[in-house]
């Protein structure tokens, strides 16, 4: 049963050491939730970017909460590289599990399907595969001649987190065309969602738009957090990405002191 809770309560459901799947910048990235997680400070997180990330991961790394990072990429886009991520990699303070986008999608799909792995083409001969002893190259059992294919093991996140435009009071959540959010939720043991608003009625009752709804069965708790993706924008049109703010962050986070100053000013303020 989906519970509607406060942002504080939502973040409190993420314990130390959790494996967290995080939505990408373009699909409703839960920035307000991340700031609240940083305020509460559960450490030792294993973050899985679905399939890449930006400022959200840089903040969590900078705050010292991340032990392991599994991602296809981390970037601040036009604002350049992610400074805390780059620093942590250089210093070896996080364990980096470099992946490629479809491999992360495949690993979550394996969890969605309840199978131990998904076969995936490509990857063979890359430095990625070389550095992923958890991935295995196997022979295609249907081929008579040598045909190696990579088997990507399932990722079952403890928690999936994202920000969506709306939920109804039953816990159904609008995800539109961002079906990676559904995949994350199917795969995860627990799904926590922040939304811009709660709407009247049942989102599943309008057949025309029901296809873009994640059913409440997969949603454990929802918190209403207007502008919960800022400074990133929402695909549903509520607001655009605030590039100036991301650039400001990129500049400040170049140094540890600047990062702390940014956090103190913007991130450690209790969310509305």
């Amino acid at each position: 049963m989906t519970r509607t809770v406060t942002l504080e309560d939502l973040a409190a459901r993420i314990g130390p050491g959790a494996k967290i799947a995080v939505a990408p910048d373009y699909a409703g990235v839960p920035m307000a939730l991340a700031r609240e997680i940083i305020r509460q400070g559960p450490g030792g997180l294993h973050v899985v970017c679905v399939p890449s990330a930006g400022m959200i991961v840089d903040l969590l790394i900078g705050a010292g909460l991340v032990t392991t990072l599994e991602t296809a990429a981390v970037t601040l886009g036009e604002a350049g590289g992610a400074p805390r991520f780059q620093r942590a990699v250089r210093d070896g303070t996080i364990r980096i599990m470099d992946a490629t986008c479809p491999a992360i999608h495949a690993a979550l799909l394996a969890a969605q399907k309840g199978i131990p792995f998904m076969p995936l083409r490509g990857i063979i001969g890359t430095g990625i595969l070389e550095n992923r002893p958890d991935w295995k190259t196997m022979q295609n059992p249907f081929a008579d001649s040598p045909d190696p294919i990579v088997a990507i093991p399932a990722i079952i996140p403890d928690v999936a987190i994202f920000h969506a435009p709306e939920a109804d009071r039953f816990g159904n959540v609008r995800i539109g065309r961002r079906r990676e959010l559904a995949t994350m939720a199917y795969a995860a043991k627990k799904t926590l969602v922040t939304v811009e608003r709660v709407v009247a009625g049942n989102l599943l009752h309008d057949e025309a738009s029901a296809a873009g709804v994640l059913p409440s069965l997969y949603v454990d708790a929802v918190a209403v957090v207007p502008e919960g993706a800022r400074p990133y924008g929402m695909w549903s049109g509520e607001y655009d990405t605030d590039s100036a703010e991301i650039s400001r962050y990129a500049r400040m986070a170049r140094t540890e002191d600047g990062f702390r100053e940014y956090l103190g000013l913007a991130a450690l303020e209790p969310a509305r």
Partner: protein, 265 residues
């Protein structure tokens, strides 16, 4: 309309020539020049009643996917994507690209964002075009420090795709999957073979008919400056603005729109 082709326009038109024959061109995020090239191809083919699909990742308007981020990759696996673009912090003479960093992995000295979908798409998209404007020995190295995507694969590896060409700020190369070597095909106006040699950390072959990268014809240029720039501005407003600024006051937005109207049949 007498403004000659800019360097940037030459690159766009060169890429669009490389895309000829494609039915579906996908463009990654933050790739305004490839996006403009794909949109130019689409605009040119429309006159011949041929529909070219262009997917620009991150664009709302030029993106028809409805199955989340994985659809691009599935689409490539189905053979429905004919061309894609990859850059690279490093690209070596065997066509390997590195999007991860320099130095010893994992504690790389310089860390770039990461491999994104390159380790997959480089295997599956038939016409992979490597595009990197900066042509220096820092980028074009003898051997990459990390292989995000290999240039070629062993014969038993399933690989319908791979690099076909490399376009840089200095010239255009083809890539031979058999020999795993680049061949310089044309040199951009104002540059020399010596300059390219000095800026390239690997050896490459020369096309027997090695020449100068041709300038776009006036009709193509008009289409590019009109309709295509309008379309590009939806995804890359800053790029479109700077392109317009470069063309100078002679080509004001109003004039540009007029051109667009003329260009559409």
């Amino acid at each position: 309309m007498s403004v000659p082709a800019t360097h940037r326009e030459r690159l766009i038109v060169a890429i669009s020539r490389l895309l000829d024959g494609c039915r579906h061109v996908a463009v990654g995020a933050s790739s305004p020049i490839p996006a403009a090239a794909a949109m130019l191809l689409r605009a040119m083919k429309e006159a011949e009643d041929e529909l070219i699909y262009v997917s620009v990742l991150g664009s709302q308007e030029h993106n028809f996917f409805t199955n989340g981020g994985v659809e691009l990759f599935d689409c490539a696996a189905q053979g429905r994507i004919d061309a894609f673009f990859l850059g690279g912090g490093q690209i070596d003479g065997q066509g390997n690209i590195n999007l991860v960093g320099t130095g010893t992995y994992p504690q790389t000295n310089v860390r770039w964002p990461g491999s994104f979908g390159s380790a997959y798409l480089a295997f599956l998209v038939p016409r992979l075009i490597l595009f990197r404007e900066e042509h220096t020995a820092r980028v074009f190295v003898e051997k990459v420090d990390f292989v995000s995507a290999p240039g070629t694969s062993a014969p038993e590896v399933y690989r319908p795709g791979g690099p076909r060409a490399l376009l840089t700020g200095l010239g255009q190369f083809s890539f031979d999957r058999e020999t795993a070597r680049f061949t310089l095909q044309t040199i951009h106006p104002g540059h020399t073979l010596e300059e390219i040699r000095a800026a390239t950390g690997f050896t490459f072959d020369l096309a027997p008919d090695l020449g100068i990268t041709p300038d776009p014809d006036p009709a193509t240029l008009a289409l590019l400056r009109g309709r295509v720039l309008e379309e590009v501005s939806e995804c890359y407003p800053e790029f479109a603005m700077s392109a317009r600024a470069e063309l100078g006051a002679a080509l004001s937005p109003a004039a540009s729109r007029a051109t667009a109207t003329r260009a559409i049949p």
